[in-house]
């Protein structure tokens, strides 16, 4: 443990309280994993909210998920996965000191981030336009004056869970498509017993789904933004050739962060878009 301390002199990146690079590297890594654990537990709260409402009120989730666009969600999943791939490759490039490759791969990763946010923006905007929002802002005003299929076509087109009857008019779902509440009240309102915006089989409290949807994807989106800023930062430094076989810790750590962001999305996608 005495190797680099004193005898060989400190490499520039080695802080004075560490004995050697390896100790510093493994410390940083453990620190990063601990940080990732805190991120997982931060999201845990949202997953709990999701699980509680979904299991008690599947009707809300089944009804509401028809408003999400599986195609866009699927594409976004792939975009994020690809950017994870370029990131992982980037770490390798840093480890091997392939500077140009590293710069290229980091740029691609960053591009993936932009792509993801771009698509997310399109989705958000559609929700916004139709008043598919949280809490008392949930106000899908367009329900009342038309059959719905035309206007919502662009966002509900690809709902994969078409029942046997073919593509249904999703705003006038057969009551059988939306099951009753699993436990407790707030189940399907039978057609006719109108709620304020009740038509067909719209259940109570659909806004809860959109609240959870926006919180989950929003918090995830913020993480994407943070990850992109970090990638941008190491991209700048790697252009200057800061990383090589002896020192690539920042690339590795940012990579870990980016993969975590990806990891969370891997679960968000089926939970929000692929409800059956």
């Amino acid at each position: 443990m005495t190797d680099s301390h004193g005898s060989e002199g400190h490499p520039a990146h080695l802080q004075h309280h560490f004995d050697n690079s390896r100790q510093q590297f493994s410390a940083s890594k453990l620190g990063m994993w601990l940080f990732l654990a805190t991120e997982i537990l931060l999201f845990a709260g949202l997953f709990v909210a999701y699980a509680v409402y979904r299991s008690n009120h599947p009707e809300i989730f089944i009804y509401a998920h028809y408003f999400l666009d599986t195609k866009l969600g699927g594409i976004n999943t792939m975009v994020l996965l690809l950017s994870s791939f370029t990131m992982a490759w980037g770490v390798r490039a840093a480890q091997l000191g392939q500077r140009k490759l590293l710069v290229a791969l980091l740029s691609l990763t960053l591009l993936g981030g932009f792509g993801f946010l771009g698509i997310k923006y399109v989705e958000y905007e559609a929700k916004w336009k139709h008043g598919l929002l949280w809490g008392t802002n949930y106000n899908p005003e367009s329900h009342d004056d038309h059959t719905g299929a035309d206007e919502h076509a662009e966002e509900v087109e690809e709902a994969p869970t078409a029942p046997e009857t073919g593509a249904p008019d999703r705003l006038n779902l057969e009551p059988t498509v939306v099951p009753p509440s699993a436990t407790g009240p707030a189940g399907t309102v039978p057609p006719g017993e109108g709620l304020p915006h009740g038509q067909g089989a719209e259940p109570d409290n659909v806004h809860i789904f959109f609240g959870i949807y926006f919180l989950m994807t929003g918090l995830h989106g913020i993480h994407v933004l943070v990850g992109m800023s970090l990638i941008f930062w190491i991209l700048l430094k790697s252009i200057g050739g800061a990383y090589g076989p002896k020192y690539f810790t920042p690339v590795d750590l940012v990579g870990l962060y980016w993969h975590l962001v990806d990891l969370i999305w891997i679960f968000l996608f089926p939970l929000l878009y692929l409800i059956h």
Binding site: L36, A44, F47, T183, L195
Partner: protein, 114 residues
Amino acid sequence: MATEHNHHDQVGHVVPVPLLGGVIAALMILTWLTVFVTKFDLGSLNIFIALGIAVIKGALVVLFFMHLRWDAPINGIVLISSLLLVFLFIGFALMDSAAYAPDQIPGYAPRINP
């Protein structure tokens, strides 16, 4: 520390490109698969399949992209314990709120349905 070091100052494991490529290919296929499966109505099985696929995808990312396969065991322990806590939290919250749900008052939501 289970880190491999090929030469003196080399720290961490270098993952070969073909392995990375294989992982991303698998991830893509699994993503397509999970969307595809949703087209079939398998009752309550659907959610388990969807989550099962997500777990496999997550494991791939964690083990290969995040190097955990070659990393110090403590880092894996950290990850696993955080996941255990998530399950603990979900488990109790679910068990409890499902148990008292029948006491809830139908239609009670004065701020939305005046």
